[in-house]
C-alpha cells in the first residue's frame, strides 16, 4: 500500500484557498481512500515555511511522497488534469467521472 503525502500552501482564508483544499481532498478521497495525508500551510501565517519551501504562487500543492516530488499550482478546479499532474492513480470504476479520451 502506497502512502501519498501532500502539502498544500495557501494564502489566507480565501475562496480560492478553500476551493483548492476541497478539490484536493475530493480527488484523494476518490482515488486514494485512506492512504493519503494533506498538510495545509497558510503562507500568510507562516511566511517562514513558504520561504523554506520556495513557494511563490498560491495555492501550490506539492506531492512529497511518493517521490519524485511534483508541484502543481492553482485551485485544481479541473479534476482530470489535476489528477494527472499530481500522478494520482486512475479511478478503478470509470463510472461517475468521465472516461479518459
Amino acid at each position: 500500500m502506497t502512502t501519498y503525502s501532500f502539502r498544500l500552501y495557501v494564502a489566507g482564508n480565501t475562496e480560492r484557498s478553500k476551493a483548492a483544499e476541497v478539490n484536493l481532498r475530493f480527488l484523494c478521497d476518490a482515488r486514494l481512500p485512506g492512504t493519503y495525508e494533506v498538510e495545509v500551510i497558510d503562507a500568510a501565517e507562516r511566511p517562514d515555511l513558504a520561504e523554506e519551501g520556495r513557494i511563490l504562487a498560491t495555492p501550490t500543492v506539492i506531492r512529497l511522497a511518493p517521490t519524485p516530488q511534483r508541484r502543481v499550482i492553482g485551485d485544481l478546479s479541473d479534476h482530470d488534469r489535476a489528477a494527472v499532474a499530481l500522478g494520482l492513480p486512475v479511478l478503478e470504476e470509470p463510472s461517475s467521472e468521465r472516461q479518459r479520451r
Partner: protein, 504 residues
C-alpha cells in the same frame, strides 16, 4: 539641494546618480529600472541596497527572480559588498524566487502570488527594510503562463510595497534599445517613475547611459548621462560638474612657469583655474606644460603629468633637450607621469584612473597633453563629458590644470568646434597660432578669457627656443586672429552628433 517639493527623496548612494536625480529616488515609491540584457540593471538593484547599508545604514530586501541568491552573493563580493555578513547582521535579506531544479510547476485553475507577497512582507518586517529591489520582473513572466494574472499580481505587490513604507527598485527587460520601455508592458503599473539604462555601441565604443524618463511630481535632470561600470566603484555616472556647486573660488595666484604669460593673465593663474592651451604642433605646448610642472616642483608641490601623445621616453628626451630634469623630479616623488595611448580605455575609464590617481597622489597641478589625442577615439560629446567630469574633481581639489589641444588643420587657431566648447568650461584659454603679417608667418599668443580678472587682451608675438617660450611685443596690424573659424555659433552650437536616436 534644489528640487524636493513635496516628494521626499531617498538617495541611492550610487556614484553620481543622485546628482542626476536631484537627490535620489522618490521615497516610499516604486521606480522601474529598465534596460536590455547587460545594461547593468541587476547591478543597479544590488548597489541600491548595498549603498543603502554602507552609507545610510538602511536595511534592504533583495527579491531575485532570475539569478540565485548564491550567485548574487558571489558576484557582489568583488565590489566589496559583504552580503553574507550583512545577512548575518540582519541588514540584508534575500527572497530567492529564482526557479530551482525540479521546481517546474503546472498550473491548473486560478492562482495568485500570495506566497511571494507573504515572503516579501515577512522579510521586510524581519529586517526593518527601508529599501527593496525586485530583479527582474521579466523572469517571472517567463515562469508563469498567465500574463494577465502576473501583471495583476505585480500591480498588487507594487502597491503593497508602498504601504510598507519602503522605496523600491524594480528591474525589467527591454527587448531593444530605443524601442518601448519594457517587454510585457510592465511599465503599466510603475508608470510614475521610470529609469532607462542603455548600453550601445557608438563609433566602435561601448556607451552606457542612464536616463530618468520620469519621476512623477519630482524634478530631475533630463537626457542621457554617461556611466561606466568600474570593477571597484561599481556604477559611476560621469558628468558631475554641472551639478556640483563650485563653492568657493580661490583668489590665490600661481605662476604658469612663464613670467610674461603670468603678466598677460593678470598675475598668474588662479590656484583653482583650469587652463586650456590650444595651438598647432610646434607652438610649444608640451614645453609650456613641462615648465608649468617644473614651477610646482621648485615650490615643493606635487604634480601629475598625463601624456596621451608621446611615450614616456619621448617625453623624457624632449625634456632633456629643454634642460628639464624630469627624472629627478620623478625620483623626488613630487612628479608622477602617466603615459597612455588614448585607445587603451574609454574616456570614462581614463576619467576613473585619473580620479583615483588624484585621490591617492594628491597633486596640486595637473597637465593633460593633449586632449586632442582623446578626440581621436571618442565622440565630441564624450570628450566634453570627460572634461566636465574631470573639471569637477579638479575644482573640488583646487588643482591648477593645464589642458593642451591641437587643431586638426595646421593653421587653424581654435581647433575643432569641440575645442571651443571645451574652452567654454575652462577659466583661461591661451591661444597659440600662426599669423600672417606683412608677408611673413609669425607665432602669436592671445589670452582669450580669464575668469574675473583683468588680463591683456592683445595679440602678442611669441617665439620658442631651447629655453622655452618667449612672449614679445604686441602684434599690431593683425586684426583677424580668429579668422572665420570661431564664432559664437561654433562656440556654443551642439555637435550634430547626438546622443540619442538609433544608429541604424
Amino acid at each position: 539641494m534644489s528640487g524636493g517639493g513635496r516628494i521626499e527623496r531617498m538617495p541611492t548612494g550610487i556614484n553620481g546618480f543622485d546628482h542626476v536625480a536631484l537627490g535620489g529616488l522618490p521615497a516610499n515609491r516604486s521606480t522601474l529600472v529598465s534596460g536590455t540584457t547587460g545594461s547593468g540593471k541587476t547591478l543597479f538593484a544590488i548597489e541600491f541596497l548595498a549603498r543603502g547599508i554602507m552609507r545610510f545604514n538602511e536595511p534592504g530586501v533583495f527579491v531575485t527572480f532570475e539569478e540565485t541568491a548564491g550567485h548574487i552573493r558571489r558576484n557582489s563580493a568583488s565590489l566589496g559588498f559583504p552580503i553574507e555578513r550583512w545577512e548575518d547582521e540582519g541588514k540584508w535579506a534575500f527572497v530567492d524566487a529564482s526557479m530551482g531544479i525540479g521546481e517546474e510547476e503546472q498550473a491548473i485553475g486560478s492562482y495568485d502570488l500570495g506566497a511571494l507577497v507573504a515572503r516579501i512582507q515577512h522579510a521586510v518586517r524581519q529586517t526593518g527594510a527601508r529599501r527593496i529591489a525586485l530583479d527582474s520582473l521579466g523572469a517571472i513572466f517567463t515562469r508563469f503562463t498567465g500574463v494577465e494574472t502576473i501583471r495583476h499580481e505585480l500591480i498588487r505587490i507594487a502597491s503593497i510595497l508602498e504601504t510598507l513604507g519602503v522605496t523600491s527598485v524594480l528591474t525589467a527587460e527591454r527587448p531593444a534599445e530605443y524601442d518601448g520601455v519594457t517587454r510585457y508592458g510592465v511599465e503599466q503599473f510603475v508608470l510614475d517613475n521610470v529609469i532607462i539604462l542603455r548600453n550601445v555601441l557608438r563609433q566602435g565604443r561601448r556607451n552606457r547611459t542612464v536616463e530618468i524618463v520620469k519621476f512623477r511630481g519630482a524634478p530631475h535632470r533630463s537626457g542621457e548621462w554617461l556611466f561606466t561600470i568600474d570593477p571597484q566603484d561599481g556604477i559611476v555616472v560621469v558628468p558631475l560638474a554641472f551639478l556640483m556647486s563650485s563653492g568657493r573660488a580661490s583668489s590665490e595666484r600661481v605662476s604658469s612657469g612663464n613670467t610674461e604669460l603670468d603678466e598677460m593673465c593678470g598675475g598668474g593663474f588662479y590656484r583653482d583655474a583650469i587652463v586650456l592651451m590650444s595651438g598647432p604642433t610646434g607652438t610649444g605646448k608640451t614645453l609650456a606644460g613641462l615648465r608649468f610642472i617644473a614651477t610646482a616642483f621648485e615650490a615643493g608641490e606635487r604634480s601629475l603629468f598625463c601624456t596621451f601623445d608621446e611615450t614616456r621616453e619621448q617625453l623624457l628626451r624632449n625634456a632633456d633637450g629643454w634642460g628639464l630634469d624630469i627624472r629627478s623630479m620623478q625620483a623626488s616623488g613630487l612628479l608622477q607621469v602617466i603615459s597612455d595611448y588614448p585607445e587603451v580605455a574609454s574616456p570614462e575609464d581614463h576619467f576613473l584612473q585619473l580620479r583615483r590617481t588624484i585621490e591617492e597622489f594628491g597633486p596640486r597641478r595637473l597637465v593633460i597633453d593633449t586632449l586632442s589625442a582623446l578626440e581621436r577615439v571618442v565622440t565630441p560629446r564624450a570628450l566634453l563629458d570627460f572634461v566636465i567630469a574631470l573639471g569637477a574633481v579638479l575644482r573640488q581639489n583646487e588643482i591648477t590644470t593645464l589642458f593642451t589641444a591641437r587643431p586638426t588643420g595646421r593653421l587653424m587657431a581654435t581647433g575643432t568646434p569641440t575645442t571651443a566648447e571645451i574652452a567654454g568650461f575652462t577659466d583661461v584659454w591661451v591661444l597659440l597660432q600662426y599669423v600672417e603679417r606683412v608677408g611673413e608667418i609669425q607665432r602669436a599668443i592671445t589670452v582669450l578669457q580669464t575668469r574675473g580678472s583683468a588680463h591683456d587682451q592683445g595679440i602678442r608675438e611669441v617665439t620658442v627656443d631651447g629655453t622655452g617660450m618667449h612672449i614679445g611685443e604686441r602684434l599690431r596690424g593683425v586684426s583677424q586672429v580668429l579668422t572665420g573659424d570661431i564664432s559664437p555659433a561654433i562656440l556654443w552650437a551642439p555637435e550634430s552628433e547626438e546622443t540619442d536616436g538609433p544608429s541604424e
